[in-house]
Symmetry: C2
Subunit: 404 residues, 2 copies
């Protein structure tokens, strides 16, 4: 397996584009993206667990009932959520896209991200679709990745190449992070494309299995958005024998998918609102996986720890505190904590109590941009990783700003 | 029932004091407090649910097994938590206090708040106890309230007077809020005194019942401290017939206790680290009380909403979002949201969708220091209240600062 360029257009048969259509006032900011597969693709998706769901999710769910899709249309600047006519708008957005592409409306994945509770004006979208379709290209991943950005400061795309059945396959993805746009609601959107041949059922199985260890292990601020969605389209153009059951090929596919999703997770967490650091909490020695995950997420979600990491403060007491209230059954007298970065590793706690360490060395380690928080529980062999970011002045600034 | 002055010394037979003994370097900051009842009192307590518990909690639990206590000793500046010799230190701190007061060591409630994982030096405490005891007075509530403060910006005390059985009774309390002291771990400590006569069992029942609706409904930052503790001493000097079962007297006692605890809750939440506003979320029309509580706490804990309140931004979508991910089963299409303060009330959402409102009026309402977030669920008759505060630059500043 190797990293390749091209993002969501790295896989055969996929083109993409992103434009400014006019949902946003700022003309330099793209606000409408399209991903297109030249043939209908098997499709799978996972959605937010928030009871308040964006209308596009309801429509996408309906469209994916047959496990097939051929295009993704996504706007930024307005989440089309908590609007009386949201479903109708999302259906019309799908229909306009399908018309322009000459495909079925129920083969469209539709998504929106931005402010919630404000009517989404269909006019700029319908007006922009012809230009969007005309500009579809194999180099369009960048533009599409830009069109879904909100408060993201960097565009997020990645692609890998691997082999299945002697055939070269690719998986690529773009994402927008859990950010608020001024003045809007956070959303995580991830669109993945692959030319591997895999049945809808196995694609859904791969995605659902993967997100439990990836996108469900990220936290920026503990808020679960109304519009979160991860979709995969698999168009089969790589020519491998279709994966229809578990086995070596499925494992290889899962591994490639995981490489893409972990890379996107790290990009999303590291680009959390106002973040200056990517935090990665690695829990080892847990009794079982649920325990490891609960502990890792509790640590990564602690506002106190996140603020300490912003201050490059090796305040391990906050790690122990977060483990203690996580709800996981752990023996706190066996807990060990270390901090690691490119500058080295410093152990700060063993057997639940502090150990002597150099504050200077700890500071040097914690001033880096990517910090690992290593927790050992000493209870078993299960492990887990969670990703997050530090809590900064800018998080407050971005989210405290008035909407209008 | 009426508010009275005197805090924890308002009830008959209680004296208190607070001094600087030298745990803190800053000599102007008190760091050791004592509360004393002239006769042994019935006692009840509730403790943090964090698996990582401060050593003083373990010792206090042991001392309260017989339901009797006569004094509370509490230092700030060091939490005596995650130290190898913590229990021994807490026992010695109790013993020194008991010796100086001429009472039993197991009638001492011992508490500590401050940095965790650093050895607590007993010398300044033992050295300070004679002065602390010598200065005990009926006017000492203020000094005691100051001695337990960490990042608190205001001292927190309250007392009420009420009647039981024709006798005048009083309940008073002091608290320190969920703050971090530079460079320390958050802790909520509440000490309540009363001259009402009530059995230990009924006192514990009253306290446990009350905190479910009060101290368990506050959130500053979602972190549950290792040292949280609420204790009540009831010395019976009011001369009422001892409350030994439920009934009218118990209800009157509960009501007075609740007045004290709600006042302290509001003080703690409003003085949350870096807070500029007290937030009170009132949920009405829930199917049952657990649902009402879950929704109220989820709203009050949302970092996004807390930041919006800092910015005086009527971003009701964040309220809906927090309700949606709370885990409570609610029909989001029936949810209503209003914001209320001294400047009036503005309804921003009805039936799960936005309604027209004046942004100017909303801004005026939200610029106040105390904001109520009113949520109606339309599913039943249960309600709940939760208290919190806004998320500000100063929260990040206080908690991002380096410990040394």
């Amino acid at each position: 397996m190797k990293l390749v360029t091209g993002g969501i257009c790295a896989a055969k048969g996929f083109t993409a584009n992103g434009i400014h259509c006019g949902i946003r006032k700022n003309r330099t900011k793209k606000d409408l993206s399209l991903i297109f597969s030249q043939v209908p693709a098997h499709a799978a998706a996972v959605y937010t667990t928030n009871l308040v769901k964006g209308a596009p999710l309801t429509v996408t769910k309906l469209h994916l009932q047959d496990g097939v899709a051929q295009a993704v249309i996504c706007n930024s600047g307005n989440a089309n959520t908590c609007n009386a006519d949201g479903i109708e708008i999302a259906e019309k957005m799908s229909a306009a896209t399908a018309d322009a592409l000459g495909i079925r409306a129920d083969d469209i994945v539709v998504a929106s991200t931005g402010v919630i509770g404000q009517p989404l004006d269909l006019a700029p979208i319908v007006g922009g679709i012809p230009q969007l379709v005309a500009g579809l290209s194999g180099d369009g991943s960048d533009a599409a990745a830009e069109g879904i950005m909100t408060t993201d400061t960097v565009k997020k795309e990645v692609a890998v190449e691997f082999e299945l059945d002697g055939k070269t396959c690719r998986i690529g993805g773009i994402a927008k992070g859990s950010g608020m746009i001024h003045p809007n609601m956070a959303t995580m959107l991830v669109f993945i494309t692959t030319d591997a041949a895999i049945s809808s059922d196995m694609l859904q199985k791969a995605l659902s299995g993967d997100i439990a260890n990836t996108f469900n292990m990220i936290s920026i601020d503990g808020d679960t958005s109304t519009n979160d969605m991860v979709t995969v389209l698999a168009n089969g153009l790589a020519g491998n024998t279709e994966i229809t059951q578990e086995g070596e090929d499925f494992s290889a596919f899962m591994q490639a998918l995981n490489t893409v999703t972990v890379a996107l997770c790290r990009m999303i967490a590291g680009d959390g609102e106002g973040a200056t650091k990517l935090l990665e909490c690695r829990v080892q020695g847990a009794l079982d996986e649920p325990t490891a995950k609960t502990v890792a997420k509790s640590v990564i979600c602690s506002s106190l720890l996140k603020a300490a990491m912003f201050g490059a403060d090796a305040n391990w007491g906050r790690v122990l505190c977060a483990i203690g209230y996580s709800g996981a059954q752990v023996d706190v007298n066996k807990v060990g904590v270390s901090f690691r970065s490119n500058k080295g590793t410093v152990t700060v706690c063993q057997n639940g109590a502090g150990v002597e360490f150099s504050e200077e060395q700890a500071k040097e380690i914690l001033l880096e941009k990517e910090i690992e928080i290593l927790v050992t529980l000493g209870d078993g062999t299960a492990d887990a990783v969670a990703w997050g970011c530090d809590l900064t002045y800018d998080y407050v600034k971005i989210n405290g700003d008035y909407r209008t």
